[in-house]
Structure formats: structure tokens, C-alpha cells
Symmetry: C2
Subunit: 114 residues, 2 copies
């Protein structure tokens, strides 16, 4: 029975502590890449909100409505196409944009009330 | 009454069609920046999911649980700090990471079932 595992590394109870060193090293490397990407995305989003805050002030000054459904539809169509080209699930890309737009509209409403 | 508006550009019913050309140009410029940032973020997220798919396969192969609460707590703490440094609302940054992690766990569960 040489294909029987000799230690419990493959059991359902295996934790990061008991998995072998090569697997742990690969997991650490992947997580470092994920952390780098997250830092980049956070900084891109900070810049994005700077732009949308300016849009919000412009809209408030000119009494334009905080939401713009036509613009949002165009953004969603474009982002779904970009996502497909990047092999990212277009459904997720749309959910992501809706998540961001909801936050932006919350900001615009706060600016309009101020 | 010289401070009375002479045309309806400032009325609540004003639309992008009737606001003046300078405002429209500024809005267009800001929206182009937002679209550029969104394209960058979509491509960063595509790369992020490539990394998390590899993590998912590694976890499935080694029978590790799809979610890792300790890792998630460390990610949230780090991202809130990065957000504060970039003048991004840390509460939003945490919501954003939770939104992404929920999608990642959905992927990991699908890999583990496959």
C-alpha cells in the first residue's frame, strides 16, 4: 500500500501549520502578489473618488441630479466588454461597478445636502 | 433683482443638454479620467483573480478550507491603513475588500466542488 498517505497533510483537518514547505511558500508568494494588487487598487480607487468628488461638486453647483442612468448604462456596457477581454467574469465586473457607483451616489447626495 | 437667474440652467430640471459648455467640458474630462481608472482597476482585478484561482486550486489539492479568517483580518487591517494614507474612507475600503473576498470564496468553493 505505497500510495497510502504516511502523514495527515492531506486530511480535511490539515491547516497551514502542517502543510509542506513548498505549498506554504507558493501560498505566501501568491498572497504577496494579491497584497500588491490590493494596494494598487486602493490607490486607484482613491484617485477615482477624487474625480467623482469633483463631479459631485460640479453637479451640486449646477443643480444636476446626483445619478445619471444613461452614463451608468454606458459605463456598465464598456466595463463588461473590458472584463471579457481580460478574462474577468462580466457579471462580476457589473456588480463591482454597481458597488462603486452606489458609494459615489452616496457621496454626491452628501455634497448636494451640504 | 439682478441676482435672479435669467435662464433655467440652474433649475432642478437642468440636464446635461442645457448646462454651459465649460461645465460640460470639465465633466467630460473628469469622466474620461474615471473611465481610464476603471479600465486599470478591471485589469488589476483580472490579475488578482488569476492569483486567487491559483490559491483556490492549491487549497483544494491540499484540502485546506476555502476561507481563512485570520488572513482576512490581516488583509482588512492592512487595507484600512493603506486607505487612510490615500485619503480613502477606511470603512469603504473594508466594504470593498469584503465584496472581493466574498467573490473569491465563491470561486474557491466552486473549485473545491469540481
Amino acid at each position: 500500500m505505497t500510495d497510502q498517505p504516511t502523514q495527515p497533510a492531506n486530511s480535511a483537518a490539515a491547516s497551514l501549520e502542517v502543510i509542506d514547505e513548498a505549498v506554504r511558500a507558493e501560498l505566501t508568494s501568491l498572497r504577496e502578489s494579491i497584497d500588491n494588487i490590493d494596494a494598487a487598487v486602493v490607490h486607484m480607487l482613491a484617485e477615482r473618488f477624487k474625480a467623482t468628488q469633483r463631479v459631485g461638486r460640479l453637479k451640486a453647483e449646477h443643480k444636476l441630479p446626483p445619478a445619471d442612468p444613461e452614463r451608468e448604462r454606458a459605463q456598465i456596457t464598456r466595463l463588461r466588454e473590458l472584463a471579457a477581454g481580460a478574462h474577468l467574469d462580466p457579471v462580476f465586473a457589473e456588480k463591482f461597478l454597481n458597488f462603486i457607483i452606489a458609494e459615489v451616489i452616496r457621496h454626491h447626495e452628501a455634497i448636494a445636502r451640504a
